[in-house]
Each structure stands twice: as C-alpha cells, then as structure tokens.
Amino acid sequence: MADYTLWHALTGGILIGLGSLLATALSGKIPGISGVFGRLLIPATPDKKWRFLFLLGLIGGAALSFLLWDSAALFRPMRPLVVMGLAGLLVGLGTRIGGGCTSGHGVCGVGTGAKDSIAATLIFVGVAMVTVLIYNRAVL
C-alpha cells in the first residue's frame, strides 16, 4: 500500500462505518468522536469505560496503521502551531455547542438520514471551505 488511491479512501471509509456501527450496537449511543471524548471530560458521566476503550482503540489502530503502511503515515502539517491551537479551541467549542462533529453528525447522523445532522454537516463543510479560501488568500 505504498501509493494512495481513492480505493484507500473508500476502504478506510467502510472501516470507519463498521467501527461506528459496532460501537453503536455495543454502547447504545451514537459514537461520534467529539461526544465520546467530550463526555469523558464531565465527572458525572456514568459510562466512561467504553468511551475510554473506544478512543484507546482508535489511537492504537491508527498508530499500528502508520507503522504498517507508508500511505497511511503520510502527514503534511499545513499550519503554524499557533493556528493549530486556535483551531483546536474552536473545534472543541463548536462540536459540543453544535452537538457533533464529522463522525457523529457527518457519518452517523447523515447515515440514518437525521435532518439536523444533514444541516450541521452542510454548514460545517461549507464554513470550512470558506475558511480555507480566506486563509489561503489572506495568509499564504
């Protein structure tokens, strides 16, 4: 798997869908990453164990893939670190105010045809495209 093709994109997407499906069946919750992670930060959350193990699996699965395949290990940082910090803050704020991220709204919500998730996904993809456009014009 040295050279990346769109088959990698489709295959990876299928794995993401399968992982989400299995986590939904086991937890009885919509396993969006921002919600799984965000609720770990709340002391009163009763079901922390599966959340922690799911994220641990995610980190482990990715780390192993980086070791196994060159195309998976490709990493091109695009922004200075100060911008990454600001981006992280906004992603944390926005995903919890809006109730989901690319996985909770984008994969699970769109997959089951939830209108709120379809709206959220259209908004965050659209706003992100405009943000990239402005950043590239203004900064680069």
């Binding site: 489709l10 794995l15 919750k29 395949w69 998976a72 990493f75 769109v110 992100a128």
Partner: protein
Amino acid sequence: MKAGRFFLIFLAGALFGTGLAVSGMTDPGRVIGFLDIFGSWDPALLFVMAGAVGVYGLGMLILRRFQNQNLKLPSTASSPIDRQLIIGAAIFGVGWGLGGFCPGPALANLGTLRIEALLFVPAMAIGMLLAQRFFGADQGR
C-alpha cells in the same frame, strides 16, 4: 458491560482508527486539499464519507430488525435545527478549516506523538469544557 463487550468496543475503536489512517484522513494536507475547492481539489474525503455513511446507514437498517433487550439502539430521530446547532456547526467549520483536524484525526495522531496533535487535543478539550460550562452543551443523558 461484560469483559468481552469491552474487548469488542476496543476493536470498534481500532477499526475506526485504522479506517482514518488508511483513508488518509489523519493527514491535514489531504483534508485541507478537499476543503480547498479553488485549489488543486482532492476528492478523497468525499469517498471516505460515501463509504462510511453507506455502511453505517445500511448497517443500522439491518440492526433495527434485530433489536431486543440485548441490543438497544439509540434514537436516530432528528433534533430541531436550532440556533445552537447552526452556530456550533459554523464554529466547528472555522476550526476545521483552520487546522485540517477534526476530533477523530487529531486523537488518531496522539499515538505517534505528533506535536500538532499534542497541541490541538488539549486546546480542543478546553473548548469542550467551555462549551459545557458556559453554553449548556452535553447536559442531557
């Protein structure tokens, strides 16, 4: 939850993380390449979403038929499209476009101790805590 279930939930996470890495979504360059529609556009993210949405949607349709006391599925009914949803999604969009990281890929890069992830994830946690403290996020369930 029994021990076997906990192993399976770890496996679910591993499938997810492997999918993120194999699909190239852990690379901010590829994500921003998709978002940069006026640059040299990279369609990969669209194929990732198609695969994930297709499998999840179809899988949920099938799982619904087997629902019983051992298999409880969450409600997938839509919440109202209100101000919170719109403003939150827009703020997330700005952050996603700025960094090229959404929560999954940022966490996925923690294992290899990428400095970008080591900075992004704590900042994200602070943003989430602020959303929970001051904007009433995550109060239900």
